[in-house]
Amino acid sequence: MRVLTLLATLFLSTAIAQSYLPPLDPNEDITITFYNYNLASAGLGAQGTQRLIDEFMEANPNVTVEGVGVSSDQMISRIQADVVAGRAPDVAQIVFDDLDFLANGLGITPLEELVAPEELAAHYEGFNPRGLELGRLDGSTYGLAYTFSTPVLWINEDLFRAAGLDPDAPPTTWAAVQAAAQTIQDATDAYGVYVSVFGQFDWMFQSLVLSNSGRVLSEDRSELTFDTPEAIGAVQMLRDLRDAGLKPDLGFNEALEAFLTGNLAMYVQTSAVQSYLLSASQGVFELGAAKLPAFGDKPVQPTNSGSALFILTDDPMKQRAAWELMKFATSERGYTIITTEIGYLPLRPAIVRDPAYLGDWVAANPIVEPNLAQLENLSPWVPFPGPNYKQMALLMMAAVEEAVFGDAPVADVMLDAHERASALMPR
């Protein structure tokens, strides 16, 4: 009997061992397609991403990576269409709000089933654990955290000085932001503050709600909770800024342009625009950065915008090639390219002070420090569940805009949207 158990265990363990990905065969050429949204934006990371791919192919001569640029808002519908047409990409960079859909809708294979535990552990060595957590759902890792940015309070230091404020002591709470905005608007012609929270992605809204001790989705993912006083309070803060005449009614791009031309003093926006802001503000004004402000003394909990890498192919050899690409992209060298050439966060904290990687660069560019510091208390950008996840996010974000810029009471608008969106939750 004992022999039988032993045999069975042996058989099972070999079966499991065999199911992991085979190593790359140096005699076999493999081509994989890589959908990437940085490749789709000439100004924001296409070059850096291509460099990442080129260096990977140099190190792995028998793997060819075909990078395809697909914009982030069209990524998921493009992949769906390609899956239906039977020509899905092998690996893709996808934003986190699609995580639930990828895991439960598309049914992709978690990394734990593809890669041996020792190999995974070796790669996770030195990786920011909070970052890794963001690619996980129900205990399985579906995506490997890749590019990350956090909401940063960008500052026009010249306007601060013009209004008699100290740009080296930027506001740390929303109340202080409001006061500073008032001072600046009284002293200059510029607008006070713009929080770039609107649009179809809800990650920054989630940052605000979390920082006001709320959530948009319950912990067990069964209920939408953006009808709570905490969530409504976060929206009310923005409405108060607007009612005080300190937050101009600008569109997403208009706000960016207003900031770049020196007409806006404080601008809360993703750190992903860092390289762009740095080069565009040259000679126009001195750019500063601070952490996301707090709601009173509540702890700030920034979420990330950004993406993970997902393996979509079923072919083991291509899965292996994709995994090797993912490992390189998230290696010390990979993050050095990503941080210096695109502007996303390095998810390997040790390389930040290491002169072999980012050390010199960070010393020369202290503006990245607030972004780096926020990695310490990062919270996941929570994806909505079920087939109607995008529609729920749309309803919620439309309500946020209505509540901030409209005339109806904030609570009325948010409660109405909550009721409508809740009807779309999976039954």
Partner: protein, 282 residues
């Protein structure tokens, strides 16, 4: 017969399938469950908070585009008709240029021009006339006008070309005969030219009514994404946002059916009007 089969396979079969798919909650993936939900998709779409506003805006887009697709181009075509051929070609070429600018490029250029703090238009208003800056794409009362103006501006060249071609086809002998009979310029336009180009006029008007809400799509998408607070959204944009953002085939098929029925009715009415009022020089 092959033509009939082709139409059947490529047009009517998908049409019938659209009606079917509209009753499911499904994402088109072969391995994911296809849940029958009856008319829920229609109910969800028709009760969207922005639905009423989108329907009203669609009417505004239709009415607002007509001056740019019919009245202005007609006037330009008539006025330039009498010019020396070389000047006529120059004027019409100038008017045609916006037509060949890609919509996204045109949108970005207009966004720069109309920017509330840095745009040429607003700087002129501020410095030249001492006015407050106007937020052309964020003021709920103005934004839809800005979008209609930009899509209309793109359209004038095309419509002018169509009308110019129609006017050129009017039989010269009729105009000369009228002149001999003592008709003035205005009389020959209203009594001879306009009736003779009425099929083109009505066709262009119908095209404009049916498609104006679609023509504005690119500008809405680049400039306002339907905002501020739904002020520039229309039926197409709203249904596209909710239906096609995720490839949710139930939502998008239901959206397609709603548009098909609504604009099908409109087209039917329009065609009846054309038959009733067109005048052909037989």
């Amino acid at each position: 017969m092959p033509a009939l089969i082709t139409i059947g396979v490529w047009i009517y079969k998908p049409l019938v399938q659209t009606f079917q798919l509209a009753t499911y909650e499904w994402n088109l993936l072969p391995f994911s469950p296809k849940v029958f939900v009856g008319l829920t998709n229609f109910e969800r779409l028709l009760t969207l908070p922005d639905m009423q506003q989108a329907a009203w805006n669609t009417v505004l887009y239709i009415v607002g585009t007509l001056p740019f697709s019919v009245f202005l181009p007609l006037a330009i075509a008539l006025v330039t008709e009498d010019l020396h051929p070389r000047w006529r070609a120059t004027y019409r070429a100038l008017i045609f240029i916006p037509m060949i600018v890609p919509p996204v490029v045109a949108s970005v250029v207009w966004r720069w021009l109309l920017h509330p703090t840095n745009g040429v238009v607003n700087l002129t208003l501020q410095n030249g006339f001492g006015l407050d800056p106007i937020s052309f794409f964020r003021d709920t009362n103005i934004a839809i006008g800005s979008i209609i103006f930009i899509s209309g501006w793109k359209l004038i060249g095309f419509a002018t070309l169509i009308f110019a071609a129609a006017i050129a086809n009017v039989d010269r002998t009729l105009l000369e005969a009228a002149q001999l009979d003592g008709a003035n310029r205005w009389q020959s336009i209203t009594r001879i030219t306009l009736p003779l180009i009425s099929p083109t006029l009505l066709f262009m008007a119908l095209l404009s009514v049916l498609l104006s809400a679609q023509w504005s799509f690119a500008y809405i998408n680049v400039l306002t994404q339907g905002g501020p607070r739904g002020a520039t959204t229309n039926l197409y944009y709203l249904l596209w946002q909710y239906g096609f953002g995720t490839f949710a085939v139930g939502w998008s098929s239901a959206a397609g059916v709603i548009l098909f029925v609504a604009f099908g009715l409109l087209a039917w009415v329009g065609l009846a009007l054309i038959r009733r009022y067109s005048f052909y020089d037989a």
